[in-house]
Structure formats: structure tokens, C-alpha cells
């Protein structure tokens, strides 16, 4: 039933580190996180790994398995062959703290930069009326468990540290889309999406959608619709001409 599996785990901190080889027992029905825990309990007591619910609901155990951003708790060992060496590394896009744990504060910073939900002022609690079909689009985005794998995989910041300042990343551009599509939000977020949150940096190569453990269609349902809304406001020649002539603020 069980077998000895080969693993290479990145160990180290900001001063350096590298891949270390381990041989660990693997049992039926296990996920990669189980193996990491066994490693912790038997061979590397101080191996740092972040985790919490172990059911794919909290988005804590994000890392990269064989180079692909994934949740450790949702990657079943049965997806690998017994002879395969499985490489586990921390998320590349964020600063390393130790071993598999990275500093994800970038995401919390970006979350703060997005203006919050702005309901109509005259609506008291309990008076909100919204139709199911109107909330469904935003509900899809609210499935997000904030594992930040989309942020990790997005080449805009993964390969270009310098873009972090200007780019909110797929997760938070999706948050803008969520609010924009919220039936009661009056925030008016289209222009800011482009000018403040860096939507224009996205080249819709869809890696965010590929890695999303919640299978949210980030690109098709959030980012592209936002790009289209931006086009409505900023790149529509009629609107553009009107603004030029009447010197309106777009």
C-alpha cells in the first residue's frame, strides 16, 4: 500500500538555500501536505510550512510542486508515479521567510489600495434588494480563498519585481471587477482599474485562471470584462472626441 517516495524540498531563507533530497513514506489517499507533515514529524522538525484547514478552503498552503503553483493540501500523491521525484519549492514571486513560507504582505498592501464597497447612502441595513442573477458574477469572484497562487504565477510581477508597485495582480483586479459588478456598488471603478491598479499590464495570458484552485475564470469573467469596460470609458473614439471637445473629465 505505502511506498517510499523521493522528494526535493527547498530549504533556506533570505540568506540562501537550496533543494534538499528526502525519502519519505507515502500512503494511499494522501496529499503532498501529508508528506510534508510526515517529513516534519520524522526527519526535519523545523521545516517551515504554512497551512491551516487542509481542505482547500483557507488558501494557506500555497507553494510550487514540480514548478507549478499549487495548494499542498489539494495535490494528491496519486497524481504522481511512484518513481517520480517531486520537487517542492516556495512561491517565487514573494520574498522568502523560510523554507516553504513566503512573505505575502504584498497582497495585503494591494488589498488596501482598492476602495471599499460603496453602497447607496440612503439604503438602510435590511433594505438591500438584489436579484440572484445580478449577484452571481460577483459571487464567483468571492469564492476566492486568497491563496495568492494567481499572484504568484502572474509573470507581470513574477518576472518583473519592478512592476509590483503599479500592478495589483489578478486577485485584486478581480476584486475591482467584483465591486464593479456588485449590483449596489456606486464606486465607479473602471478608470482606476486602468490608471491605479495596472489593468493595462495584464496581457491576458491566463496563467491566473490556470492555477486557480477554485476554478474561478479570472481572465474571462473578471479581467477581460474590466478591459472592455475600460475600453468603453477610455478608448471609445466617440467618448474620446466628446471629452476633447467639451474638456470633460473622463
Amino acid at each position: 500500500m505505502g511506498y517510499q517516495g523521493n522528494f526535493r524540498v527547498w530549504r533556506g531563507d533570505e540568506d540562501g538555500g537550496g533543494l534538499e533530497d528526502f525519502t519519505v513514506e507515502v500512503n494511499e489517499g494522501e496529499v503532498v501536505l501529508d508528506v510534508i507533515h510526515r517529513l516534519q514529524a520524522t526527519q526535519a522538525g523545523d521545516l517551515a510550512v504554512r497551512w491551516n484547514c487542509k481542505a482547500g478552503k483557507c488558501g494557506s498552503c500555497s507553494a510550487e510542486i514540480n514548478g507549478r503553483p499549487r495548494l499542498l493540501c489539494m495535490t494528491r500523491m496519486s497524481t504522481f508515479t511512484e518513481g517520480e521525484t517531486i520537487t517542492i519549492t516556495p512561491m517565487r514571486t514573494f520574498p522568502i521567510i523560510r523554507d516553504l513560507v513566503t512573505d505575502v504582505s504584498f497582497n495585503y498592501t494591494k488589498a488596501r489600495e482598492i476602495p471599499s464597497f460603496k453602497p447607496p447612502k440612503d439604503l438602510a441595513p435590511g433594505e438591500y434588494r438584489m436579484q440572484q442573477i445580478d449577484v452571481e458574477r460577483s459571487q464567483e469572484f468571492r469564492k476566492c480563498i486568497e491563496c495568492f497562487l494567481c499572484q504568484d504565477t502572474c509573470h507581470v510581477i513574477r518576472d518583473h519585481e519592478e512592476n509590483k508597485e503599479a500592478f495589483a495582480g489578478p486577485r485584486f483586479l478581480m476584486r475591482v471587477a467584483e465591486l464593479e459588478m456588485h449590483p449596489l456598488d456606486e464606486g465607479g471603478r473602471t478608470v482606476a482599474a486602468q490608471e491605479t491598479h495596472g489593468l493595462g499590464l495584464c496581457n491576458i495570458t491566463k496563467c491566473c485562471s490556470e492555477v486557480c484552485p477554485e476554478h474561478i475564470k479570472i481572465t474571462d469573467n473578471a479581467l477581460i470584462p474590466m478591459k472592455e469596460r475600460v475600453a468603453d470609458r477610455k478608448y471609445d473614439p466617440v467618448v474620446w472626441l466628446g471629452n476633447k471637445i467639451f474638456r470633460r473629465q473622463s
Partner: protein, 257 residues
């Protein structure tokens, strides 16, 4: 400070296969399209009134007169230029600014990124914020233009049922029909179309008809990539078939008359 990992990627799967196929496929089709464009011949089968979509509408004075369904308002073209140059900017523009093709060539041709979690080779990256790529935002205008051309193609496909000998149905008719079917599906599944038809609305509940359309288009939109390839390849096959029939290499397989 990030974890120091020197490998460009630790992916162990064949991540390079998909960009390779994309670049090969797009390259092959580009070469074929260029050859056919500059060939300036075999685009019209006069016996059965088949007009290849690559030359439709044929608007300049050098066109075979019968192939010019909408007259010849344009003068003869100088040098090596051929009639398709009037339509190619719109067709190409529609495909180049298409959200699917953007993904495909940014990845495959520009390697930005070549595949997910594989480092790209470029030092800097500004995405679609600057010229010329900022022009990708004009996709919807190409969508409008492509929709008009699609109407022309549909017209062509329908009129092709009446040839020199009157009404008839051949394999060419069926190919032309399938072709406009695929083009229509690709065009309708476009993200801009999805936005214009309903996606831009804040409250679907107040616009039931547009919501209904948005739902249908969303279903098609999920297959945008497949439709993009299918329609592109089929346009070439349609053109090839018409070229072969027009040049007399093969005869049209007739079903009725």
C-alpha cells in the same frame, strides 16, 4: 528577497509543446495566406459562383467582374498589391486583437511568458499600457468590421447556390456554409461581443433579453479558443478547395445539379 532558485522553471512536464504547436500552426497559416494573397488568381469558380472568403468582397477594378458582388468602387492596384489588401487589415486586425490570439502569440511568439511559471526572457515589461500594444483596446471596432465582412461572406455562401446553370448544390456549397458557420460562431463568441451584448450591464435583471443573449454568448465564449482555431483553419481549407476547383486540379463534387 526571494528564495534563490536558479532554474528558469522547475516544471517537469512538456510545457514547451503548446507554444511550439501554436507558433508552428500560426506560421504555417500565415505562409499559406500570404501565398494565396499574392497569387491573385483562382479565387472565383465561375461555373458554381464560389468565391473564396479570402477575396471577399472583391472591390477593386482588377477583380474578376463576376466575383465583385458589391461592384468595383476601387481602382486597379499598383505593383504587387492584390484585392485582399482592402479586407486583410480588418480580418487580421480582428484576429490579432482577439483576446484568445493575444494570449496565444504573447506566449508562443513573444514568450511573455512562454508558459505558466516559466520565466520570460525579457528584461522589461509594460504589457498593454504603451503604443503599439495599447491599440489592443480597439478590438471592438475590429469586431464591428469583421461582423460586416461576415455578412458579406454569408451573402457569398447563399448566392453560391445559384451558379451558371442555375440552382445547384455541390461540396463547395457545403464547405462555404460550414465556413460561415464557424466564422459566425467565432465572431459571436468574441469577448467584446459578450461585453457589448450584455456584459457591460450592471443589472441583468432589468434587461432580460440582453441577459439571455449574454448567457448564450458566454457559453460560446467558453469555446473561443477552439472556435478561433477551427474557423481559421477552415477558412484556409475553404480557400484551398476553391483554389483547387478554380484551377481545375479537381472538380467540384456535385450533389444536386
Amino acid at each position: 528577497m526571494r528564495a534563490q532558485i536558479s532554474e528558469r522553471t522547475l516544471r517537469t512536464d512538456r510545457w514547451w509543446l503548446s507554444p511550439l504547436l501554436t507558433v508552428a500552426g500560426l506560421g504555417l497559416i500565415s505562409v499559406y495566406a500570404a501565398i494565396r494573397t499574392f497569387m491573385n488568381d483562382y479565387y472565383w469558380v465561375s461555373e458554381y459562383h464560389y468565391l473564396t472568403p479570402m477575396y471577399s468582397p472583391c472591390l477593386s477594378a482588377e477583380c474578376v467582374p463576376a466575383a465583385s458582388h458589391f461592384g468595383q468602387p476601387l481602382p486597379e492596384l499598383p505593383g504587387f498589391l492584390t484585392p485582399p489588401i482592402f479586407i486583410i487589415p480588418f480580418l487580421l486586425g480582428f484576429r490579432i486583437t482577439c483576446y484568445y490570439y493575444r494570449k496565444a502569440y504573447y506566449r508562443a511568439a513573444w514568450m511573455s511568458p512562454p508558459a505558466c511559471a516559466v520565466a520570460e526572457p525579457h528584461k522589461t515589461y509594460t504589457g498593454e499600457t504603451k503604443a503599439p500594444l495599447i491599440a489592443q483596446n480597439l478590438h471592438r471596432y475590429f469586431f464591428y468590421a469583421a461582423s460586416l465582412l461576415l455578412l458579406v461572406n454569408i451573402y457569398d455562401a447563399i448566392t453560391a447556390f445559384v451558379g451558371e446553370k442555375g440552382f445547384g448544390i455541390g461540396l463547395g456549397n457545403i464547405i462555404l456554409l460550414v465556413n460561415v458557420g464557424l466564422l459566425a460562431a467565432y465572431t459571436a463568441s468574441c469577448h467584446s461581443c459578450r461585453h457589448i451584448m450584455g456584459g457591460k450591464l450592471k443589472h441583468f435583471s432589468k434587461h432580460p433579453v440582453r441577459y439571455w443573449m449574454w448567457q448564450k454568448i458566454s457559453k460560446l465564449n467558453a469555446k473561443h479558443m477552439q472556435l478561433a482555431w477551427a474557423s481559421l483553419i477552415f477558412v484556409c481549407l475553404t480557400d484551398l478547395y476553391i483554389a483547387l476547383v478554380a484551377s481545375g486540379v479537381i472538380g467540384d463534387l456535385r450533389i444536386v445539379n
